[in-house]
């Protein structure tokens, strides 16, 4: 009976069009591309300032080689932020409540970081499987634990975003229908 509260998360379909399509594409309308001018309108300037802030926060601890990740990570943050914030409006559909979208983002990106690390610095990335200062008898167990945690990471993070958003929306609906 109470499982009907989960019906708000079923992928909506109107006249045969899956509505996840506009709900993924339309948040990009809130981020207008700037024109060719040096100084654009106020909305673009605010966006630029915000993007610059995000990129600075992400890239300051990294050396020059790590700055290649700037575009990927900043655009990911902007996309998820716009989608999730728009989902707070009533009667909107939030695509990030769908496990499919979160796993689609989590698995390739996690694999990318793993393979990049293994390719560029194989011994250092394998060395991360054993924390510093581990007592010797614990070494085999800890390597297994760290390997498991590494392999579970995309599933854990994808489910984390899905579960957090689903729980939030469910809570909103429960409170409103109390």
């Amino acid at each position: 009976m109470n499982l009907s509260f989960f019906d708000q998360f079923s992928s909506p379909c109107l006249l045969g069009i899956p509505l996840i399509l506009p709900s993924l594409l339309l948040p990009a309308l809130l981020l207008p591309s700037p024109g060719n001018r040096w100084i654009n309108n106020r909305l673009s300037t605010i966006q630029l300032w915000f993007t610059h802030l995000i990129t600075k926060q992400l890239m300051t601890p990294l050396n020059k080689a790590g700055h290649k990740w700037a575009l990927l990570l900043t655009s990911l943050i902007l996309m998820l932020l716009s989608i999730n914030l728009l989902g707070l409006l009533p009667y909107t559909f939030t695509p990030t409540t769908q496990l499919s979208m979160n796993m689609a983002l989590a698995l390739p990106l996690w694999l990318a970081t793993l393979l990049t690390g293994l390719r560029n610095q194989p011994s250092a990335s394998l060395g991360h499987l054993l924390p510093e200062g581990t007592p010797t008898p614990l070494i085999p167990a800890l390597i297994m634990i760290e390997t498991t945690s590494l392999l579970i990471r995309p599933l854990a993070l994808g489910v984390r975003l899905t579960a957090n958003l689903t729980a939030g929306h469910l809570l909103i609906q429960l409170i409103s229908t109390a």
Partner: protein, 54 residues
């Protein structure tokens, strides 16, 4: 839970990556950062020269 229905999973994955890589990333790339405004730099004075009149 309706999210576990595997039917739209492939299309959702494709749409997510298309939106992410073909919509958001080019929009972000078209931003050019402006330098922060700074005071006039008066440390280097131009060395004066005399025009050679023939």
């Amino acid at each position: 839970m309706p999210q576990l229905n595997p039917n739209p999973w492939f299309s959702t994955m494709l749409l997510t990556w298309f939106t992410f890589s073909l919509l958001i990333q080019p929009k972000l790339l078209s931003f050019t950062l402006t330098n922060n405004p700074a005071n006039k730099i008066t440390t280097t004075k131009p060395t004066p020269w005399t025009w050679p009149w023939t």
